[in-house]
């Protein structure tokens, strides 16, 4: 089991440094990415640390920390890196892989992705009431955002019935293929 674990980490690392972002080795730890990152104060590893840990072949510790899962893909880091390291793409790639290998650490976010995509698979479009309801149930936080739900209803800014697209089977096929 441990060997197998290690094998998938090696695959990830290899792909990461050869295909996804070979520029990783150009990082000279200036810290600009971290300085601009809106989430740096809640990250367990800062963006520049993530890059350094990859150089040092310590993918497992990154995947065990919250950083890659919380990253909002705002692309501030990548757009400012003087060495053209696409940090956001690295974060994104690690998220995709941990989803794929069922190692996604933050369950609330994993729940959100799972439910959202299932809804799109059924209807072809998103349907917020069902999304929020299922999320609150799964996360056992029943009255989360109840206050704003009331406001949204009052302003008539939500559909109470889902919209089905005609060829939803096409969307279903796409979601199923890649989920």
């Amino acid at each position: 089991m441990i060997d197998q674990d290690k094998k998938y980490l090696n695959t990830i690392r290899h792909e990461l440094v050869t295909i996804v972002e070979p520029n990783i080795y150009y990082c000279y730890q200036c810290g600009k990415c971290t300085a601009g990152c809106p989430l740096s104060d809640v990250y367990e590893y800062q963006p520049n640390e993530v890059i350094r840990l990859i150089q040092l072949d310590k993918i497992a510790s990154i995947l065990n920390a919250n950083s890659v899962y919380l990253c909002a893909s705002c692309e501030i880091c990548s757009s400012r890196c003087p060495q053209e390291v696409d940090i956001a793409a690295v974060m994104n790639y690690l998220r995709i892989k941990s989803w794929h290998y069922k190692q996604f650490k933050l369950s609330s976010i994993a729940n959100f992705y799972g439910i959202f995509l299932r809804i799109v698979k059924i209807f072809g479009r998103s349907f917020e009431p069902l999304l929020i309801l299922s999320l609150n149930l799964l996360n056992k936080n029943f009255f989360n955002d109840f206050d704003i739900a009331v406001k949204i209803l009052k302003k008539r800014k939500i559909r109470l019935m889902p919209e089905f697209i005609k060829k939803r089977n096409e969307v279903s096929k796409i979601v199923k293929k890649y989920l």
Partner: protein
């Protein structure tokens, strides 16, 4: 990747607008919680004589969840919308939602024939085309999609906006003395423009403005006589969809944006992204509760403000659907 270069392009007013038609992709947000954005954009386009047609049977772009679980899924989901537009004979697409815009424009770059592609991109493109061939779509044609965000389109049509604004002003000059809710809102407006984090950073997409200190929204508002305040938080991130799972992070980031707006001397914020708008407007009450603060800052879509300037009523642009309403709207 393109760095800090300012590649502002010429405006599009030279193109014959009467013959030009766009495919319109609203996306799921604009169909529900951002209905005010949707309606105000559509009414603004009508006022500006910009022709558009909604993509028939469009699907969700998959937004954050799709691109975080798969490299191909967001491209394939958006490819369907692009192919549908092509079936309608349209290749110029307007997409007001910034999140959808990122997905659609990234997909368009992969699908277009002329853009240079890496080996792995060619492979992905081929795979995705196969999926669509099996569903009966034509993939052999020449593709030349161009996806516009709302700000880019308006920016390129600045002269048209200016012209229509002056026409409307002359038309109404007879009763310009009477003050209406619309004129009060416009007169009172001292906004900052907030672009959000990703509009100008989307990788691989043509930059129409500087990504660190953009000025296109300010320039657009300037054409209708609105002066914006200098704002140092123009392209900071509001926390986006973390609002669903890690609300406190979003409340903190959004509070900082509201703070910076007040510090700039503004009394309102003009935005162009439904998610930013939601975090700043809908969640302003949660911010107030959480931080025991008393913010009361209306957060308008740029289409709402321009709509008013074109002489539309506040109901035409749905200003009464904002959660933090301007004080001129009587309850």
């Amino acid at each position: 990747m393109e760095k800090l270069v300012n590649t502002k392009q010429k405006d599009d007013s030279t193109i014959d607008q009467d013959k030009r038609k766009f495919a319109y992709y609203p996306g799921c947000s604009l169909n529900s919680t951002a209905i005010d954005f949707n309606i105000s954009v559509k009414n603004l386009f009508k006022a500006l004589n910009i022709h558009f047609e909604e993509i028939r049977d469009w699907n969700c772009c998959g937004t954050t969840p799709a691109h975080n679980v798969s490299k191909e899924m967001p491209i394939a989901l958006s490819a369907r919308n692009l192919f549908l537009a092509k079936n309608m004979g349209l290749e110029e697409i307007i997409c007001p939602c910034v999140s959808c815009y990122c997905k659609l424009s990234k997909a368009s770059i992969l699908i277009n024939n002329k853009e240079i592609k890496s080996e792995s991109e060619i492979k992905t493109r081929k795979e995705i085309f196969e999926v669509f061939q099996n569903m009966g779509y034509k993939t052999e044609e020449e593709f030349n999609f161009k996806v516009y965000s709302l700000v880019e389109l308006l920016y390129k049509n600045k002269e048209l906006i200016r012209q229509k604004f002056i026409e409307n002003k002359n038309k109404n000059s007879i009763n310009s003395e009477t003050s209406t809710i619309e004129s009060e809102i416009l007169k009172d407006l001292k906004p900052v423009c907030y672009y959000g984090c990703v509009l100008l950073r989307t990788e691989g997409v043509t930059k129409f403005d500087n990504m660190e200190n953009p000025t296109s929204m300010e320039e657009i508002l300037d054409t209708v006589g609105i002066k914006s305040k200098h704002f140092r938080f123009k392209t900071e991130c509001c926390g986006a969809i973390l609002s669903l799972t890690h609300k406190n992070i979003v409340l903190k980031l959004s509070k900082e944006i509201l703070d910076a707006a007040l510090e700039a001397g503004a009394n309102s914020i003009v935005v162009c992204c439904p998610l930013c708008q939601q975090n700043l407007d809908l969640r302003q009450s949660q911010i107030n509760k959480h931080f025991k603060s008393k913010y009361n800052i209306p957060v308008y879509y740029i289409s709402q403000i321009l709509g008013l300037a074109m002489g539309l009523s506040y109901k035409d642009v749905m200003i009464d659907r904002l959660f933090v309403e301007p004080k001129f709207i009587k309850k």
